[in-house]
Amino acid sequence: MMWVRSSLAYPASFLLMLVSQALITGTDFIAVLLMFSHLKSFGGFSLAEMALLYGTASMTLGLADLATGSVERIGQRIRGGELDVWLIRPVPAFLQAVTDNFALRRLGRPLQALLVMAIALGNLPINWTVPKVLLLAISLISGSIIFAAIFVLGAAFQFISIDSAELANSFTYGGQQLTQYPLSIFGKNIVRAVTFVVPLAFVNYYPVLYLLDKPAPLGLPAWIGLLAPVVAVVMIALAALAWRGGLRRYRSTGS
């Protein structure tokens, strides 16, 4: 709440930040557009389908970043002693960590993603049924949760190794780069890794495949996209355990 207010203290500068944030995150999509000026389809995806994939990847990461992106600063907060201050307050440390320096400019990415998604959906001949609308809505939520859980897992790892913030970034921001392309263009091993190890494929790829009536890779059933909420729940549980473990370790080692 207070960070929202401090963001809005300078409305013009806030607006500029928001627009520049949207533009910066949008440059990826411009690369996709350029690519399609030479290609008709990419990994079996048309431009509009790519746009949907891009939009959902960007939207889910954007929402996760908005909600939990601040936890990646936990290493700094441990070093600076702010974590001790959080621990003397009657509010869970996690809540204070995610609201720490809450940056409203992070709205830029979801806004830009919303635009791309709207264009994509307007150009796709999807036969909309109630289950498909639900699937899209739910997979956006579960995808955001998966990214958010990865943010938190990365932060929890910083309790052990304070300078490991970049490691988590390679899975979150790096994960978004990955998931904006049809995963079938990558090797089978990568697809296996993002299905079974770090379940980035469930963020948007499998749900979008289902939405577009495309077959799943690795001989997986087409309904695998419906498992996204289950994966999200598992990821929340893992993230919560890791965070608690990290905090317990901090409180029992003092470092």
Binding site: M2, R5, G81, V85, R89, V91, S252, G254
Partner: protein
Amino acid sequence: MSVIELQNVSRAFTVSSRTGLRRTRREVRAVDGLSFTVEPGEVVGYIGPNGAGKSTTIKMLTGILVPSDGTIRVAGVDPSRNRMKLAKRIGVVFGQRTTLWWDLPLKDSFAVLQKMYGVPRARHAENLATFVELLDLGDLLDVPVRQLSLGQRMRGDIAAALLHDPEIVYLDEPTIGLDIISKARLREFLAEVNKERGTTIILTTHDLDDIEALCSRVMVIDHGRQVYDGTLAGLRASQSAPRTLVVDLASSMPPITVDGATVTKVDGPRQHLTFPTSTSAAPLVAQIAANYPLVDLSVAEPTIESIIARLYTAATPTP
């Protein structure tokens, strides 16, 4: 009933150091078999050299750190198990860092704390008005915390720690880096809070004057062990560290003779005399004034460091 109870509390840290290729792990006991109790309304000075275990003790009392051994009860509960519940009943001030929000004006920080601690609006307003007056915060309420001077920030921090009517307040070096006037004002305020509200205060400090002005009781800790627990006067007397009387005479003179004190240094018209802690300075001053052309004088108390140094070298630490 005691508000704080420690029984045989220890806290060990593992320090790993690297010598060549071999990594050795060593266990350091920051706090080692500490036992004490504090009664409601007491003001306790908790002193000791750097690295003695003061901050570790405070962190265990607040529930931030879990003790490796022993039991702690604060306000009737185990702090590490009931950390968030206890948080509403304690206030903490870290001298070296702020608990306020860097970019927010002071009054917004206070408003956030009111919500966080669930303080009833009326009570919050009442407390805020009291602290604004006593700590002279009126002009600072609209200033972002990052623009406050150290002394102003400290006043803000102390108000913040007290807004939710805590039963116990821990102050970790609250006067560090403050000028004399700010220090005096702060001490006055804390004494007032203790008297009016019966708040128990635990204060770590390097400044003996803080203890002198505020604390009815002093605890000295070194290497994680308690080496003294009692009054400040008792601490001074027990260690018989000599006090120093500095007299400025009208002109340079040979060393003066005074009963009960000896001249240790002559520096032009200024002479330094030492006398035991057990002796009062007043008769000495009267004696000198009667026999010599006295212009000015001052009494230097033994520094906390010198007293503590004696405490450690003493064969048997005074209980």
